[in-house]
Symmetry: C2
């Protein structure tokens, strides 16, 4: 039984196809985004966080959201990420919030703070202590959303040519230590400079500088600093460096709800993953330093120096937050949470480790 004429069947088939593709369009629309990072294309584990995030998004969305990751050598604007995401040239960015302190001091505290929280404490602050809400508040004036983007864990305090025993030993030392930690060191009488990564080793070898801080064993060992500056100090200034994902607000709002959920989840898990990845990388690199470079002398700054750093930190923060109520609100929130969480850290992991080193 043929209910339709041949011509009508053709029309039906055509209408069917047209209807199908229209109906699927909204649901299967492919969003193509671009993400700009501060990092070079091989700077593991920093570059891995956005790349793994993009891969996960593509898999989970079945190809409906594709994010192209541009490393710094591509867009040539390592420190222009915030502006590019704000302006919409890139829907997303991956960088570190404390790089924008010259542009907007309120954005400083979302990466890490000297003498601040450790990684689990800071994640607890972000997700259960109001930190994430404060970060959105600080970025709202830029019409950008911001999320944790990967933690390095505790960074080392740096390499010194000579042992530092007293505050006097620090005075006049030339050290490469950029950013807020550099301001603390300047207060202690050091001459603080910044030097491009490629020139660091030579500067240290020739005595142009007496000390420098870089990151941690995973990245430091490749630079060879231990050959000329064997005193390797433990960390104080970046206890839990958290990178950030930035998302253009308008672009985010255009995504359907399921893709928003996929994007949020992929960013959050990539952040946790980088923390664990770098834990492994640091542990692996450290185990090689200890066996292959036994001449490295591991030191912790003596208490009077630590106390002076803490005092300088406190004074600088008070001064900086005086005319910046939102910065003050964030710093107060962090200090209160740290006080509470540190008691538990002491009771749990610290005392456990003390008996199991």
């Amino acid at each position: 039984m043929n209910m339709f004429s041949k011509a009508t069947k053709l029309v039906v088939a055509t209408a069917l196809l047209a209807g199908l593709s229209t109906a699927s369009m909204a649901k299967d629309k492919v969003y193509k985004w671009k993400l700009a990072t501060t990092w070079g294309p091989t700077l593991s584990p920093f570059i891995d966080a956005p790349e793994n995030m993009a891969k996960l998004v593509e898999e989970m969305s079945n190809g409906r959201l594709i994010i192209r990751v541009d490393a710094a050598n591509k867009h040539k604007s390592a420190f222009g990420i915030l502006d590019m995401v704000k302006g919409g040239q890139y829907e997303m960015g991956h960088s570190a919030s404390y790089y924008w302190k010259g542009k907007d001091i309120d954005l400083l505290p979302f990466t890490t703070m000297p003498f601040g929280m450790t990684a689990p404490e800071q994640y607890a602050w972000f997700y259960y202590g109001g930190g994430l809400e404060l970060m959105q508040k600080a970025y709202a004036k830029h019409h950008v959303l911001s999320f944790p983007g990967g933690n390095t864990g505790n960074q080392m305090g740096g390499w010194f040519r000579k042992e530092v025993k007293t505050l006097d030993d620090l005075k006049g030392l030339k050290m490469r230590i950029p950013g807020f930690a550099g301001e603390i060191m300047a207060k202690l009488g050091l001459t603080v400079t910044n030097i491009a990564p490629g020139e660091l080793y030579t500067a240290l070898e020739r005595g142009t500088i007496d000390a420098l801080e870089w990151v941690g064993p995973g990245m430091d060992i490749n630079m060879g600093f231990h050959k000329v500056a064997p005193y390797y100090y433990t960390g104080w200034h970046e206890p839990a460096t958290e990178l950030q994902f930035l998302v253009n607000e308008k672009a985010y709002n255009k995504l359907p709800k399921d893709l928003q959920a996929i994007l949020l989840t992929a960013m959050k898990i990539s952040s946790y993953n980088m923390y664990i990845q770098n834990y492994d990388m640091s542990a692996t690199a450290w185990s090689k330093i200890a066996t292959e470079y036994p001449d490295i002398k591991i030191k912790t700054f003596p208490k009077p120096i630590m106390d002076a750093m803490k005092q300088a930190n406190k004074e600088l923060l008070t001064e900086m937050s005086k005319d910046h109520p939102l910065l003050k609100e964030v710093l107060d929130s962090q200090a209160a949470y740290q006080k509470k969480a540190r008691e538990w850290t002491k009771m749990s992991d610290y005392l456990y480790l003390k008996d199991n080193l």
Copy 2:
């Protein structure tokens, strides 16, 4: 211009709908799964991990994978999870791997081990040190996939009515401490028992037992143990209790690739999230204990006791793994990774905390 008769339009519309629903079927098929947990419906944060996982899966899959979470009061088989997932009554489970040690000793070490790794060390072992592969290997004979399902962080060593100063003080003590840690305590001369949670307080108050371990401040404070046993010992036996998601292998293999990616991601992020959630819960509870219950005496077991526990642990593990090559392979892998990672933990967080308590 009307190209179709009224009757033809109706037929076209019907065909269109039929065509649409057939074409979308494969792609939009809804999978309805069930997950059984060991926990009661309000046991936060344990129950939150599977519930949040299921919620995320539903959002990210736009309702294409729905997982119903059944708490223990529903399926009445708190310790039957592995069997139910294996048998296919439930596609998924959420429990703790060390509960299956009586069934299959190879499954013991994937939750936590006495004197073992801390949470970040253990996550690094799972994801970058071969741990996850070993876990799949151990569960393969049960045709079940297994994934980290949420970490409690470091658990406390328990509540004691009297201070424990020497090994002799331990001998003859009656303690509620189940599982593998109980075997260690038995080796030290304690009389070890297990008692249902609802009867713990009364048993401790009446002196039926002299000590017990439960979890940590978040859950302990509600039980009131501090009122009758004020000596609260820091942890040694469960430094990083990781719960597990179990997935029936056949059910998993039937999912399309994007839903597999969504499920894997949702499980992994729920695991990390529970670690951070419990960090916050423990810190919050602890801050209340310290201010509201100043009479609690925080203690760490003296070194000779710790050493005896470590020795007993070692002997028991050697004995247990003698005839179990896979268990031995896992324990060796954990020990090697812990040795490497602990050096870095010491250099980074431990030394940092030492100066910032």
